[in-house]
């Protein structure tokens, strides 16, 4: 039997012309108006989508619920998503269960906790907030963005690390991010955890102050991902791989400080984040802390920020268990294995020469001194004193 191409004629190996062409070229990709949608905006602005044979059509979404519905209905092919949106859908928390795929991590860190300016005279950190909460009859209200999302889980973790029970000592509600700063001013909410620029904006308008960066809760914590349904990834593996390549390249571009200046200008546009450029830039440009670390948002870090570690997703499941959101003990590893498309990610990274770690778990020390390394997740979930 003769083939039109012998492999010898194509030293590139298995990538014979045509065999890796995207099954679907024009993609509707959702995003939420947050600074960390930057990789998608940059991928389109710099033409990285076309470089890999795709045309990304970005569609801003009004809520994470809308992202979920449109991914499941096929109105969106993929989306900028909370890590926990994918996990929440996979586990059927609060809505229809559907098998999901996480193709890559888009960033780590870069979120913050903001408190109302009205609390500033008494509160400057978690410990003084705890004194206020426990010494007063008032039930304070804290907002985040989505029940299964990282803002909820990092806020609860931070509060609990300071001996404040997030479900019993305070009220936990969801407020759309653009309404949060105004909520502080009106006194509807006393604090919140959200992505940028909504912390920087409250501070610039004198309505609130940033009490903690989420990197203080967990340095380089998992944050946004590129998500699609499992079905979409199964039926369009070449498209999914090309999409990861385009976004990896955008993430690499965003590692250069001068390019973040450019990204701030793109993000400020009305079609994207629609917020003042300098407010966006104030939390996007890398800043070194006194100890030499860079506590802000991380998009690339030689690919360290992009590998979708299984342990990152398993941490979320453990927190769902901790807060009573998941009744039955899940098979942590199996759930994570089902969602994370490590195969596609590794192929995309290899083609770009981006380093991929051998391990599928990573070890981190969180604000309360506990270490999370993906080992015995069920015991980890039970190990917290403050829980539902």
């Amino acid at each position: 039997m003769s083939l039109p191409f012998s492999s010898a004629a194509h030293p590139g190996g298995h990538l014979v012309a045509g065999s890796d062409a995207p099954e679907k070229r024009q993609l509707r990709v959702g995003f939420i108006a947050l600074t960390d949608c930057a990789p998608l905006v940059i991928a389109v602005a710099k033409g990285y989508d076309r470089k890999y044979g795709l045309e990304i059509v970005l569609q801003r979404q009004p809520s994470w619920a809308a992202v979920r519905d449109k991914l499941l209905a096929g109105e969106l092919d993929a989306s900028h998503a909370l890590y926990g949106l994918g996990y929440g859908i996979q586990l059927g928390l609060g809505g229809p269960q559907h098998d999901m795929a996480i193709l890559m991590s888009l960033n780590q860190g870069g979120q913050a906790i903001t408190l109302s300016q009205a609390l500033a005279p008494q509160v400057r950190d978690g410990a003084s907030l705890a004194r206020l909460v426990h010494g007063s009859e008032t039930r304070y209200t804290f907002a985040h963005t989505f029940p299964t999302g990282s803002h909820a889980m990092l806020l609860y973790y931070w509060l609990a690390a300071h001996d404040i029970h997030p479900l019993y000592d305070v009220r936990s509600v969801v407020i759309p991010p653009p309404q949060m700063a105004e909520g502080l001013r009106r006194g509807d909410v006393d604090g919140y955890c959200v992505g940028e620029p909504w912390n920087a904006l409250a501070q610039s308008e004198g309505k609130g102050f940033t009490v903690a960066l989420t990197s203080e809760v967990w340095p380089n914590h998992p944050e946004k991902v590129l998500a699609c349904t499992r079905d979409f990834a199964d039926r369009h593996p070449n498209t999914a791989r090309a999409l990861v390549m385009a976004l990896l390249e955008a993430c690499r571009y965003l590692d250069v400080p001068a390019n973040r200046e450019e990204a701030a200008s793109w993000l400020a546009l009305p079609d994207y984040v629609d917020a003042p450029r300098d407010v966006i830039a104030s939390r996007l440009l890398p800043e070194k802390a006194a100890d030499g670390s860079t506590p802000g948002i991380r998009f690339f870090g030689d690919g360290e920020a992009n590998f979708p570690y299984l342990s990152d997703g398993m941490w979320l499941i453990a927190q769902y268990r901790r807060w009573g959101m998941l009744r039955d003990e899940p098979d942590y590893e199996a759930v994570a294995q089902g969602i994370h498309r490590l195969d596609l990610y590794r192929e995309a990274a290899a083609q770009l020469g981006v380093a991929v770690p051998d391990a599928t778990r990573r070890s981190s020390r969180l604000i309360d001194g506990k270490t999370w390394d993906g080992g015995d997740a069920a015991a980890y979930a039970r190990s917290f004193d403050i829980k539902a």
């Binding site: 029940p147 479900l167 509600v173």
Partner: protein, 191 residues
């Protein structure tokens, strides 16, 4: 009869459901226009059904109540439990999402959804038609300006100018109006 709460915080005039639902005998609470009012209404007035634009930014506020039902003052569930899938599909098409408070029988929801769908399905068609007409008008204006510019600066006849735009649109696989706007943004057109 179920008590219905309308969330009216987008361009879609959800509040206009009030009359139709009242005529059908439902008790309609004062509608709310943002997350704070929604939370207050759910906690203090205890609606059985909440109707909200699929595109409302306030939907995630309801999602929190749906997931955290152990801790929330009022448990809320999504409408996905309703048996009649065709009604749900119609609701999705009309862009209406309904959250049902725990304990209400699913069959009681169907007529409410039907009213909402009848109202907004039609609305959506009208709106799409209106958007199409507006787009056509905008295209025609820009195509005329681009033609005029080609005729003035390059001495083309009107037919030649139009043919140039048309062939460029074919080549790019783009709409004529978009090609005209592209040309106008690159050149320095008169007026």
């Amino acid at each position: 009869m179920p008590r219905v709460l309308l969330v009216n915080d987008t361009d879609k005039p959800i509040a206009e459901l009030r009359e139709a639902l009242q005529r059908a005998g439902y008790e309609i609470m004062a509608d709310v226009a943002h997350a704070r009012a929604l939370l207050h209404a759910v906690e203090t007035q205890r609606p059985d059904v909440i109707i909200i634009d699929t595109e409302s930014p306030t939907r995630d506020t309801l999602e929190q109540l749906a997931v955290m039902n152990a801790a929330a003052p009022r448990p809320v569930v999504m409408f996905s439990d309703v048996a009649d899938q065709s009604i749900i599909r119609a609701a999705v098409r009309a862009g209406v999402t309904t959250y049902v408070v725990d304990g209400m029988a699913p069959e009681k929801l169907a007529p409410i959804l039907e009213v909402a769908c009848a109202r907004f399905d039609e609305e959506d068609k009208l709106r799409r038609r209106l958007a199409e007409v507006e787009q056509q008008l905008a295209d025609r204006k820009d195509i005329d300006r681009a033609k005029g510019w080609l005729m003035d600066r390059h001495g083309l006849s009107e037919a030649e100018a139009f043919e140039l735009l048309r062939s460029q649109a074919m080549k790019q696989g783009a709409r004529l109006g978009d090609v005209a706007r592209q040309l106008l943004s690159m050149s320095d057109p008169p007026g």
